[in-house]
C-alpha cells in the first residue's frame, strides 16, 4: 500500500463534485443514504490507496465511491488506485450513471453490472478485494450487512480483502451489536479483522445527522479453500427485516426511466413563461 501523499484538495473536491452532479437521487426506501461530499473525498483516497493495483468489486455503490476512485486516479489527482473496478448494483440508475460517467471521462478501468444481492453472484469470482456500504442492519441485527459481505467474499473466491462501511456510534447500542455480529460472521467465513477506522463518515441522514460510520477492513486467512459456487439467498429468516423491521425485499431491480437529457433538470419540474413580445 502506498504512503498517503499530499493531494490537491481543490482539484479532489471538484472531481468528486463532478461525480455527485451525475448521481441519481437517493431512494430512502432502499436505504440509499448518501455520504457527505467531504467524507467522500477522504474515503475515495483511502479506498484508492488500500486497493492500489488490485481488481476491486463494489457490492452496491449508491455513494458512487467507485466512480470517485477511478476518476481521481485517471485525472492524476491520486497517483494510485485499483487496476479494475466493477460496480454491482440493483439500481439501474446507479449502473447507468457508472457506465455514462466511465464513457464520458474515458475511465477504461470502471464498469457496472445490474445485480440483485439476493441472487447468485454472477462472477467473475477472482477479484482481489471488495467494498460494500450496505443497509446497516439496525432492525435485523446486522443480517443485511452479512448478505452483502457474503457476496463480497464470493467475489474474491474466498481469498482477498474486504472493506465494509457500517454504523459506528458511541451513544447507540445497536451499532455495537451489529459490529460484533459482522466481525463474528467474517471470522466464521475465513476472514480476520485487519483494521478498524472508527467514526469516519457522516451522511445526509435527516433523522440522525450525527450518526457516523466506520471502515472495517477484513483479510482472508491464508489457505482458505476457494469458493467457486454462489447460491441465491431465499431464507426468510435472513430477509424478513432486510430494509427495516417487517420490511423484506420485494423489488428485484430499480429500473431507470430512459430519457435524453441526463444530468439536466426534469421537464416535469418546471414550465416556461415567455417574455411578452414588444
Amino acid at each position: 500500500m502506498p504512503d498517503p501523499k499530499e493531494i490537491d484538495l481543490r482539484a479532489a473536491i471538484n472531481a468528486i463534485s463532478d461525480v455527485v452532479q451525475n448521481r441519481p437521487r437517493p431512494l430512502r426506501e432502499f436505504d440509499q443514504i448518501y455520504m457527505k461530499t467531504g467524507d467522500m473525498v477522504l474515503q475515495s483516497e483511502i479506498v484508492a490507496r488500500w486497493a492500489n493495483g488490485k481488481r476491486l468489486a463494489f457490492i452496491g455503490d449508491g455513494d458512487a465511491i467507485g466512480c470517485c476512485v477511478a476518476y481521481l486516479h485517471k485525472r492524476g489527482i491520486l497517483d494510485y488506485g485499483p487496476s479494475e473496478i466493477a460496480v454491482f448494483d440493483f439500481d439501474e440508475r446507479m449502473c447507468s450513471t457508472v457506465t455514462r460517467f466511465a464513457d464520458s471521462e474515458s475511465l477504461t478501468t470502471l464498469r457496472s453490472h445490474l445485480y440483485n444481492v439476493l441472487e447468485r453472484f454472477p462472477g467473475p469470482m477472482d477479484f482481489e478485494c471488495f467494498y460494500t456500504n450496505p443497509p446497516w442492519g439496525a432492525s435485523n441485527n446486522g443480517e443485511s450487512v452479512k448478505v452483502f459481505i457474503q457476496r463480497g467474499i464470493e467475489a474474491t473466491g474466498g481469498n482477498g480483502e474486504g472493506m465494509v462501511v457500517i454504523a459506528d456510534d458511541p451513544e447507540l447500542e445497536w451499532p455495537k451489536r451489529v459490529l460484533a455480529k459482522v466481525q463474528s460472521y467474517a471470522i466464521e467465513s475465513g476472514f480476520y479483522i485487519q483494521r478498524m477506522m472508527p467514526s469516519l463518515h457522516s451522511y445526509h441522514l435527516d433523522d440522525n445527522p450525527d450518526l457516523r460510520s466506520c471502515n472495517l477492513v477484513f483479510r482472508s486467512v491464508p489457505g482458505n479453500p476457494p469458493i467457486t459456487i454462489s447460491s441465491p439467498i431465499t431464507d426468510s429468516a435472513r430477509l424478513s427485516n432486510f430494509y427495516g423491521r417487517d420490511n423484506p425485499p420485494r423489488v428485484r431491480f430499480v429500473r431507470e426511466k430512459k430519457r435524453l437529457n441526463y444530468g439536466k433538470a426534469h421537464e416535469d419540474e418546471y414550465s416556461l413563461e415567455l417574455l411578452e413580445k414588444k
Binding site: 433523522d207 450518526l211 427495516g244 423491521r245 417487517d246
Partner: protein, 191 residues
C-alpha cells in the same frame, strides 16, 4: 402521568402548526370532517424521520400484535410552512400499488400521511427524557436528545424509569389513534 403516556406505550410525536399555508385550526376542522365522513382521516406530513414503510408501519404492527395501539401526540408550535397546498390524488402503503383517495380526503403539500381516527384536543405533558426512539437508525436514543434542530417528529416508546430533572417537557394539545394501514405514501396522479 396521563393514561396514554405509560411505560411501554408507543407514540408518534410530532410538532404541528400551519401546514401548506393552512392554519392548524382549519386543518383540525377539515380532518375531523374527513373522519366523520370517511371513517378515517389522513394526516399529511413529510421529512425522513417517520418513513411509512421503514418506520411507522412496522412500529404500529408491533403494537397491534400485542393488542395495543400507537397514538399520534402533537405539540402545537408556531410555524410558517410554505409548501404549495397541492392535493394528493393517490395513496399507497408500499410505493408500488396505488389507489385513488376518496373525494372527501384532502392531503395537501405532503409526501406521506398517517391514517387516524378519534382526533381530539387534549392537554397533557410529555417528558421526552422518559422516551426513546423505538426503531431505525437512531433506535435507543433518548427523545430529548433526538428531537432537536430539524428533527420534529419521531416514533417513540415511553420508558419505565422516570428521569429526575428532565430537560425537555413538551405540551401535547392534540391526540389521535393511528389505525391500519397506519402510514401511506401520497402523490399526484401519474400520467
Amino acid at each position: 402521568m396521563p393514561e396514554i403516556i405509560k411505560p411501554g406505550q408507543g407514540l408518534l410525536y410530532m410538532k404541528v402548526g400551519t401546514h401548506a399555508k393552512e392554519p392548524l385550526e382549519e386543518i383540525i376542522a377539515r380532518k375531523t370532517r374527513e373522519i366523520e365522513q370517511n371513517g378515517v382521516g389522513y394526516w399529511g406530513y413529510g421529512g425522513g424521520t417517520c418513513h411509512p414503510q421503514t418506520m411507522v408501519q412496522p412500529f404500529a404492527k408491533d403494537y397491534e400484535k400485542h393488542g395495543g395501539v400507537i397514538y399520534l401526540c402533537m405539540q402545537e408550535m408556531e410555524s410558517t410552512h410554505f409548501a404549495e397546498p397541492i392535493r394528493a390524488d393517490e395513496w399507497s402503503t408500499d410505493g408500488i400499488e396505488w389507489s385513488d383517495f376518496p373525494e372527501v380526503i384532502e392531503v395537501r403539500g405532503s409526501r406521506y400521511a398517517l391514517v387516524i381516527q378519534n382526533l381530539r384536543q387534549t392537554e397533557m405533558e410529555l417528558v421526552l427524557d422518559n422516551t426513546k426512539v423505538a426503531l431505525g437508525n437512531s433506535m435507543g436514543a433518548r427523545g430529548n436528545k433526538y428531537i432537536r434542530g430539524r428533527v420534529d417528529k419521531a416514533c417513540l416508546e415511553v420508558m419505565g424509569s422516570e428521569v429526575q430533572n428532565p430537560e425537555k417537557v413538551v405540551r401535547i394539545g392534540l391526540v389521535a389513534d393511528i389505525v391500519a394501514p397506519y402510514a401511506v405514501h401520497v402523490r399526484n396522479r401519474q400520467n
